[in-house]
Amino acid sequence: MACLRRGVLGKGFYRFNNKVNVRCFMPSFLVNAKGLYKHYGRVVAVNQLDLQIKEGSIVGLVGPNGAGKTTTIKIILGLLRPDSGEVEVFGQAPWDNPDIRMLIGVVHEKAFFPAHQKTLDYLKRACRIFGVPEDRALEVLTSVNLEDAYDRTIKALSAGMLQKFAIAHALVHKPKLVVADEMTANLDPQARSNLLDLVALLHKNENVTFLLSSHILPELSRVCDSVAIISYGKVVASGNLVELYSKFTARVLRISTDQPDVLAEPVRKLGYVQTVEVDSRGLSVRVAEGAEEKLYEDVPSLAKKVNAKILGIESGSASLDELYRLVVTKGGGGTT
């Protein structure tokens, strides 16, 4: 604790021999946002949003377009000031705070780099800015399979390559927290897979914490241990993926039938049924709390009336995609 006596900078920091350290005085959450509110004119982008990210976790930020994901990320990065509410990153306010930027890697939704500079030169400059050896530049380029493009100008990169370059740039200073807005956008499936492997590897080996915003939900479910689902600027559900699945899919039943369209109509009319999704093999039915047994009882008689054959009824197991739909769409449930 000698280091603490040498000058505490804030709740989560101290500086010793011109080095910013977070290890000995780590706040309980790397990111702690409470009651964030931000509006643009009449549009409320973020509305009383709460978000906590623990060290060593991979959190997915999920939500439809315009839900407030990018605004939330910008507030966390100190690019936007919230109208009200508080946010702390590494225990400090992020606005105009150079200390925490040593610890954060950022991948923006669109890659913003000076177009005329060469990739390796630009990364070397980033290395010098962050005070890491310049060899690191080629190392990160290689980690995203972009080593062959080391002498290309940034404007000569394709959209996918630019995205990879943005990721390399975010990792150049070995950050403790990586905040990525649509990190896998513009990437081909192989590159996406490789990148998710890299995320998993960095998480496992270096305990890097990730906040990933994405529309491609299966990817998030592959790497994330928890998600925050945002709708209309609010976190409508958040927590461990397993817990969320059990909470939101317990009331979803899967009915396999030979005539899904015919059976859907009377099932929808049942008072306790909240949503019915039809596909070629059957129905996914969401019911009110405690009404699962009733559905088991009612469906055979309904099927008999419309001459449909029931092949099976079972408790639903949803993908993150389905979970997201369940939470965000009508009757999706409340905030956790």
Partner: protein, 268 residues
């Protein structure tokens, strides 16, 4: 442990801004234009010799007349297509992810946009003065300095306004257009002021305009405005210095507003 480099981020952001602002062959073209206008076209506006002070003023004015316009063009371009474009395209967000305070980022950008352009201008001007008339300059060095300071007040004030507009609207092109329009508008206003002053025999319009462009006061200090045989305006040296100070106070105010807005208010 994370090393927080001292000073290095600022220099690197500055170097990056210089690389973008003066991409080949821009620096070379502007250096050529400065040299051409200093050494070739200066004679066209040289007002001739008088007292040592007047000679020094005439010489510096002649050497500065065209390069000053080129300087304005370069600075406007740098602000509009450098910082303005960074804001428009979002490149500034990457710069803001570096361990550097916002005011330091703005300083680095301004040093590149204005500082380097000034260095280039003065490098060639000093060379020009030394080659053309070192003796005259030595005798009237205070006039030389005052002339340069007074001449730069107006371009710097316009640049600060353009910078503020670029930060406010986050569009470099719009700020550039506004800068050019303001520049032309001021020339027109100056012409109207001259007519008003001549016919009404009043110096008030010039006294107001001299706060924005103190080089006018210096010009009329050495060659007064006359109308129908009478002197309309012949400001004293004290008045000139006051106008220069007032102009730089406006520049400082505009820049302070820019710094405040960029550091405390600018949401991206």
């Amino acid at each position: 442990m994370k090393q927080k480099p001292k000073g290095r981020p600022f220099l690197e952001v500055f170097a990056s801004a210089v690389q973008e602002d003066y991409r080949f062959p821009l620096l070379e073209i502007f250096a050529f234009l400065y040299a051409l206008s200093t050494f070739v076209f200066a004679g066209m506006s040289f007002g001739g010799y008088g007292s040592s002070e007047q000679s020094a003023y005439s010489l510096v004015s002649a050497l500065m007349s065209i390069p000053l316009n080129i300087f304005m063009l370069l600075v406007f371009k740098n602000i509009a297509f450098g910082l303005g474009s960074d804001l428009e395209k979002g490149t500034i967000q990457t710069t803001l992810s570096y361990p550097l305070k916002r005011h330091a980022i703005l300083t680095a950008k301004l040093l590149s946009a204005i500082g380097v352009a000034l260095l280039l201008l003065f490098g060639i001007q000093i060379l020009g003065l030394t080659v053309v008339a070192a003796g005259i300059i030595r005798e009237g060095i205070h006039v030389v300095i005052l002339t340069y300071v007074a001449s730069l007040g107006y371009p710097l004030l316009l640049s600060a306004i353009i910078l503020f507009v670029a930060l406010w609207v986050k569009k470099g092109g719009l700020a550039l257009v506004l800068g050019i329009v303001m520049s032309f508008a001021f020339s027109v206003i100056q012409g109207i002021a001259l007519i008003i002053a001549m016919f009404n025999r009043t110096a008030v319009p010039f006294q107001i305009l001299a706060i924005i462009n103190p080089s006018m006061a210096l010009q009329y200090h050495y060659s007064p405005i006359t109308s129908f045989g009478g002197i309309v305006w012949n400001p004293s040296l004290i008045e000139v210095v006051t106008d220069v100070c007032a102009c730089y106070a406006l520049v400082a105010l505009a820049l302070a507003l820019c710094y405040y807005y960029f550091s405390r208010r600018l949401n991206l």
